[in-house]
Symmetry: C2
Subunit: 732 residues, 2 copies
Amino acid sequence: METSQNANTLERIFKADSVAIIGASKDEAKRGYQAIKTLLDTKYDGRIYPVNPKEKSILGLKCYPSVLDIPEQIDLALITTPARTLPNILEQCAEKGAAGAVVIAGGFGELGEEGKTLEQEIVESAKGVRIIGPNTSGMISVAKGLNLVGLQNVPPGSIALLTQSGNIALTLITEAGLKSQMGFNYYVGVGNEADIKFHEYLAYFTEDPDTSAILIYVEGLREGRKFLQQARKTTQVKPIVLYKSGRSAKGSKSAGSHTGALAGISEVANTAFKRAGIITVNHSDEMFPIAESLASLPLIDEASIAILADGGGHATIAADYLTELGIKIPELEKETREKLKAILPPNASLANPIDVAGGTDQNPAIFADCAEILLNDRNIQGLLVVGLFGGYGIRFAKKLAFKEEDAAHRMGKLVRKIRKPIVLHSLYNYAKPHSLDLLRYYKIPVYDSLEIACKCIEALSFYGSYRQEGPKKSNFHFTWGTKAVPEGRKIIDDALAEGRSALLEHEAKELLRLQGVSVSRDRLAVDEDEAVKYAAEIGYNVAMKIVSPDILHKSDAGGVMLKLKSEREVRKAFNKIISNAYKYKPDADIRGCIVSPMSAGGVEVIIGTKNDDQFGPIVMFGLGGIMVEVVKDVSFRVLPVSEKWAASMIDEIKASAILDGVRGRPPCDKAAIAKLIEKVSDVIEAYPEIHEMDLNPVIVHEESLSIVDARIILNVEGMEKRIRLSRDLIES
Amino acid sequence: METSQNANTLERIFKADSVAIIGASKDEAKRGYQAIKTLLDTKYDGRIYPVNPKEKSILGLKCYPSVLDIPEQIDLALITTPARTLPNILEQCAEKGAAGAVVIAGGFGELGEEGKTLEQEIVESAKGVRIIGPNTSGMISVAKGLNLVGLQNVPPGSIALLTQSGNIALTLITEAGLKSQMGFNYYVGVGNEADIKFHEYLAYFTEDPDTSAILIYVEGLREGRKFLQQARKTTQVKPIVLYKSGRSAKGSKSAGSHTGALAGISEVANTAFKRAGIITVNHSDEMFPIAESLASLPLIDEASIAILADGGGHATIAADYLTELGIKIPELEKETREKLKAILPPNASLANPIDVAGGTDQNPAIFADCAEILLNDRNIQGLLVVGLFGGYGIRFAKKLAFKEEDAAHRMGKLVRKIRKPIVLHSLYNYAKPHSLDLLRYYKIPVYDSLEIACKCIEALSFYGSYRQEGPKKSNFHFTWGTKAVPEGRKIIDDALAEGRSALLEHEAKELLRLQGVSVSRDRLAVDEDEAVKYAAEIGYNVAMKIVSPDILHKSDAGGVMLKLKSEREVRKAFNKIISNAYKYKPDADIRGCIVSPMSAGGVEVIIGTKNDDQFGPIVMFGLGGIMVEVVKDVSFRVLPVSEKWAASMIDEIKASAILDGVRGRPPCDKAAIAKLIEKVSDVIEAYPEIHEMDLNPVIVHEESLSIVDARIILNVEGMEKRIRLSRDLIES
């Protein structure tokens, strides 16, 4: 389906002028009653058509025996009837020209593979009517009064909400209503994503002029890569705040390679989300506050914040936590300090954090003066106010409340004028003073958790610098096969023709060489004379390893011998390796030994790829040995990766300083590693038959590297899914 | 001062029957007015004596020209006058037999060393009148109505609050008043701790029968070790919840040894606090909730929790987060599942987390039935209820509120009867429904942050298992010198007599040997013949190292030669080392070379000690090389440590699995490491002149270890502080 047509369809759904309620009921406990009641209560700006063959009217509205009896084309249907009735009803909806249908019934993909098949049948029966759900809590288009959820009193605002949990939607809507003046323009319970997927809603909200931020609660993505691609486009325009649950269910399925054993889904997802400019949230209590801040405030270009406090304790806590979050609390300009000095008492702290030291006790309007001085400082990109503001009228004297209100008006206008954000923490938030409502009216959010206020600053700053940097090259977009070369294609095809599910070591290395990687010219020797000949050509010392499609773990089979220094040693090694191999596996298909140069000393690293269930091909990087096996100090990226992006993987691991040279060792060639990771990415993109690749170890020298062992596993059955997961979605 | 006398004095302060307000005033803006006003408002159960030579009466109370004019002995004085007036006033207070004085004035130790001296003068002038402060916000004894802070409406309860920030006290008191029914019985602004220290207040609250939990906000401790010692005693009886701020100010001061470079204060403090049974809190918004939970609920013996939810989203978030916090969510007993099945709808999830799947929509009282079934399960030690409870009456139908209230009554009584806790998350908390107030009446806390509810579960479980385990051996108690032996004493004394600030390597090793550590018999050779002789005795290979008090970094001076295999090599090495040393430092005092056996292969570890500003001697453990230098994977303990406690340090580092044997290597002798750490602890305890000790590297073999290099730094000037910091406080 074309993008623009798609957008039109979603526009018809979200702005529906007519909606059929199929399964309409007079029973107040039933969804088919509640939906109509809610639409009437929310003053739906459109026509409601209850459908139920047994009723004449419901809640004063004429009731129709079937969808087909409705006297006009309908835009949208809400279907509350059971799963078995769906194919017939959806077909009728199609006949009626409906753009979409909200399908409440469960019992599909959430129950397993069989349910997924059922889902596909439903989608097909819909003949182009786009389905929200099934197994959805519904959808709401607030401005239109189109509320198909039954959640009353949704506070209006500019946040579009996408969730996979009805009760999280309820939580966020309740929270917004009770604690904020920001609210929602859309809510979609995406349900099972049988038809319309996360990324399609995302595309719609990206274009929607009334949406200023998108808030997502996701348990799992059906089309992870398309989601990333769309998210990357969306975040060029507006922020996405995302909470991913289901983190404790570890997703390391395929064993047998380091990457397989270590790639936890959530690590991969978090890296990918961040790369796509998404603000990820780990605590559910931060979801709404962060979305609210991003929907309301100017962004922070550089993470340089002033803290304005009316007590030392809050200032210290805020400074500690912002520092931990990587936010700078810079020195103030001299002029700023002088201006502050003029309005604050002598014992006030004029360094950042600023402690007014009682300077606002008689007149909290001074907060606004301080805010103006601070936000005009060129070192300062945003302001965090912490402490009692909002409570002066409660704590000290009632009349001070008016001064606080004055300050609120002035701070509100200041943010609009100066385009730098203020986030406020108030310990009187729960008491709901008017001044805090005023701040929210001006879209300055207020929190009673100091830590959450800091997290909002962090989010404004993360997203601000993301936008500052401009669009990223990485578009999560694979063009399968285009990077293949005929010789490479032949290696894969020959192996598959032989019925092998793995390349031999020298084949794997050859594939890398064909992609432009400088690898050692390993030679396959079929007898000891050849081995001696190749060893002489290469020059001593050499290493020798068994070559057999039946022996993957060469060391275990006694199939590796190193540091061979002479013809005699090579001959002895050849015979020993072959006899070990037959002992290990008597019926093994043994092709000989490869002879390769011994690589010089350096630092061992591992590069591996894997297929993630949600994102398709990913790559892992880590230092060889204990750092991967014991400390699990690794970094991940969704492929493809550029050299630059690969370089960030190298810097991301905890022990990366080892590559810069420690204990008097020279630095390693990190550029060569980054280039190699990019080439690995190219190989994966070139040959979709590759399931996993493991370069382990790679020894990195001062000005080069040596790939000591390379392993490539093929899997044709999984190829289709791999291709599907990373098929191109969006031109960029 | 004796403990019991101390306790009596604090009792007289906190239960004061008479209080003098020195600096009493008619000016409403002055503290000397507000204090009297507050005492009258809070119906202070005692006699108030305003003191001001210029007034006859204030607020209806007779005013006295000086303390001495008050017609009876006073228990307590609040002094609001400036610093310079203090010595005179305190002397008069002493004359009047006052037990204590609350000193508001600042300008002392918070300004630096000079201020500290001033403080000591004040304390001396007080002649035994115990001082709260100076630079304090005051103190409150709630039941007595003795409020010397000016914070009105302190909600009463059983939490004793100790802070170093007046506005954090205000925050917590405001929070309690707005969000809870639990409150405080005491508040102390400890100020500069010039006289009464944190641990003394702690001791008082430990004995106080009305205190059920102690909540502390601390920026820095003046007597860290005494605090730990008292805390260890306190936590055998009641919980301490502590937030430590000032974390971003890194406290690694002394360079030159690994321990010095890495010992961040907060890491040391956190480990020590945990060991003393203290619940440490990292986010300020968790302080009050966690204290409230601990003051209100039965503890959790084993971290095995049931989650009861009315929606999938909350259940998933709670399960994820509790898992991350190390809390188990175990299987339910068969009987439990059957009982739940009988009262919940067929689509309810009866595995843990339990999702009622609409089963409470018509009747939220079913929550209480579920709670009873779940808390009777033998696998379950506590219950976390998440979701809408409290909001059924708001969301669905008003009459459901009464069912919720019924459930609240029953859950409240259930917790009392069954002695297992319930913690509740409600997204309707902010709406303040009556049912949630009822729960709080029964001391079941309710939070609108799901994550904070989980953190309370974690705290109940941490402290529950701490109490379960019983008192710890480690009492943070040094008995300086008792473990010394005459030969060891002589080594130290001789070095000091020579004016040296470091022991030579063989001296350091000898000190360990004297403490029972098996070290290699290194021999000091003064010429090459001796070197050859010793090498023959030891047996080849040998290592040789320069011995000079002027060369601490032997390798840098070319003063180390390894793997010497013959007489010829030993002779050559001796001369080379000596000439290198003279080249490195021409005027060096060179004593010769030590000859030692080459140690076999194994895993390198580092053990080092350091002096922490707040806690005195501490020890660090880590794996040698990059794991310490680059990854900074180390663990810390406040000394002394037992072998068992040392063993926990070894298991604590991320890479500890390396010691269990990886990649086919045999496991290392972890018991030997633990024993060595204990012996290091003994050496430090034996000789207070030792400033720092570094064993680096220690090579650990399968059934022993070798201390390759040992370095001991002496410092007599710092000795007194070291001794003071870890002087014994409490018999145990």
